[in-house]
């Protein structure tokens, strides 16, 4: 499995039937391929029950996700305006959100919407990381060899102390009150190899598991 799908599949393992989940663009959007039955997807432009991408006559303007892609609504879909959409988000009704990340700090701060001097908008990301019960970041462990998991973020924050799980192509890391806990590594990758690629000191879980390739 290519690394994008590997990360999406692992992130989707956090979902359970009955969950309402919001997926960001890029790798997160692939999670719907791996979600267990009974998960429903929320799109912040105003619908719960996002189904597969639409084809032919199904491609109507009225069912487009936050990324502008046309989709088929699922049975039981509900429609609402943007205020209601974010009432759902902020009030903790979303079981999870999956987002990409530029940087995550050891306290779980997330920077994913802007590089310094290039701020084109946070969209709904600040509300999502503030409201969703579980915030899952999918990202590669490093960018051009430089760590993305840092003691403190240097880019503008999306939210402070908001991340629960970091899913990378090599490992899974949880943000806990005791610090960053290494939960899973790819077969053949050592905790030491992961540690070299992140800035803060990782706690290695007693029950460190193998991440599905």
């Amino acid at each position: 499995m290519d690394i994008r799908h590997r990360m999406a599949k692992r992130a989707a393992a956090y979902f359970a039937a009955g969950d309402i989940v919001n997926l960001g663009i890029g790798v997160p959007s692939l999670c719907n391929n791996y979600a267990p039955p009974g998960v429903m997807f929320h799109t912040e432009n105003g619908l719960i029950g996002v189904g597969p991408l639409a084809e032919g006559l199904q491609r109507v303007e009225s069912f487009s996700n936050a990324n502008g892609m046309r989709f088929v609504p699922m049975p039981g879909a509900s429609v609402f305006d943007s205020a209601e959409s974010f009432a759902i988000v902020r009030s903790g009704r979303l079981a999870a959100t999956v987002l990409g990340g530029l940087q995550v700090s050891e306290k779980g701060d997330l920077a994913n919407w802007a590089r310094p001097g290039k701020m084109v908008g946070m969209g709904g990301a600040m509300d999502l990381v503030n409201g969703a019960r579980k915030v899952i970041v999918t990202m590669e462990l490093t960018a051009k060899g430089a760590p993305k998991i840092l003691k403190a973020c240097t880019y503008p924050l999306t939210g402070a102390a908001c991340v629960d799980h970091i899913v990378t192509e090599q490992c899974v890391i949880d943000v806990t009150p005791e610090g960053l806990v290494l939960r899973e590594v790819l077969d053949g990758v050592t905790p030491e190899e992961i540690q070299r690629q992140v800035e803060p000191t990782l706690v290695v879980a007693d029950d460190l598991a193998i991440m599905a390739a």
């Binding site: 936050a66 429609v79 943007s82």
Partner: protein
């Protein structure tokens, strides 16, 4: 009780230099394109645009940016529109970025006689900048003040003559909020229907919020 249907000329006459225009739609979907034609035809300039985004370059809302009518933008995201991004970078457009949920609530406040709301969104980020922090029972909240405009442009699925509106799917998005958040609310509807053709329980935007409907 007379019809709120108006000709294009009557609607074009609403716009003037320096106004704040509130526009529905999300990423080019559910945008009142025929009403944007009216703004373009009016020649109005130095506008402030209050909307979720500015569409794509020279598409939907982006046409106002392309035509050089916009001085300021208040939005949650402008990244899709390369023209807006370039004009912001060169200092020709001033942009205020607001988290999407806060933008929706601020418009709702502006249309509901409320002065603002308290949210957690943006605490500890640049969204705090220039904002008031209010404590309630020892908890910190960010005060997001109400936003309103001069003219609101709404795209609806159906409209009856007194402005009761329905929407379709995700074309609803910010439109019901825009319908409340301006001094004058103008509607473009895919379908114009008779009085009472929209059942009362199905009305999403009550006609009381609507001032004019673009006639076909």
């Amino acid at each position: 009780m007379s019809s709120k249907l108006r000709t294009k000329d009557e609607i074009v006459a609403l716009f003037a230099d320096g106004q704040t225009i509130v526009v529905g739609g999300f990423a080019n979907h559910g945008v009142p394109d025929a009403l944007i034609d009216c703004v373009l035809d009016s020649g109005a300039r130095h506008l402030t645009l209050l909307s979720n985004d500015t569409g794509d370059a020279d598409l939907t809302i982006g046409r106002l940016v392309h035509a050089g009518r916009v001085d300021k933008v208040v939005a949650s995201h402008i990244g899709m529109n390369t023209e807006t991004v370039a004009l912001v970078a060169s200092g020709k457009i001033e942009v205020t970025l607001v988290p999407q949920g806060s933008l929706a609530e601020r418009m709702r406040c502006g249309g509901a006689g409320l002065g603002g709301v308290l949210t957690k969104t943006g605490l500890g980020t640049v969204a705090e900048k220039g904002k008031t922090i209010v404590e309630v029972d020892g908890e910190r909240w960010l005060l997001e003040p109400a936003l309103r405009g001069d003219v609101g442009l709404v795209r609806a699925r159906s409209a009856d003559p007194i402005g009761n509106l329905t929407y379709r799917g995700t074309c609803r998005n910010f439109n019901p909020l825009v319908a409340r958040a301006a001094a004058v609310t103008v509607v473009e509807a895919d379908m114009l229907v008779e009085l009472d053709e929209i059942e009362g329980d199905s009305v999403v935007t009550p006609g009381v919020y609507v001032d004019m409907i673009l006639a076909k």
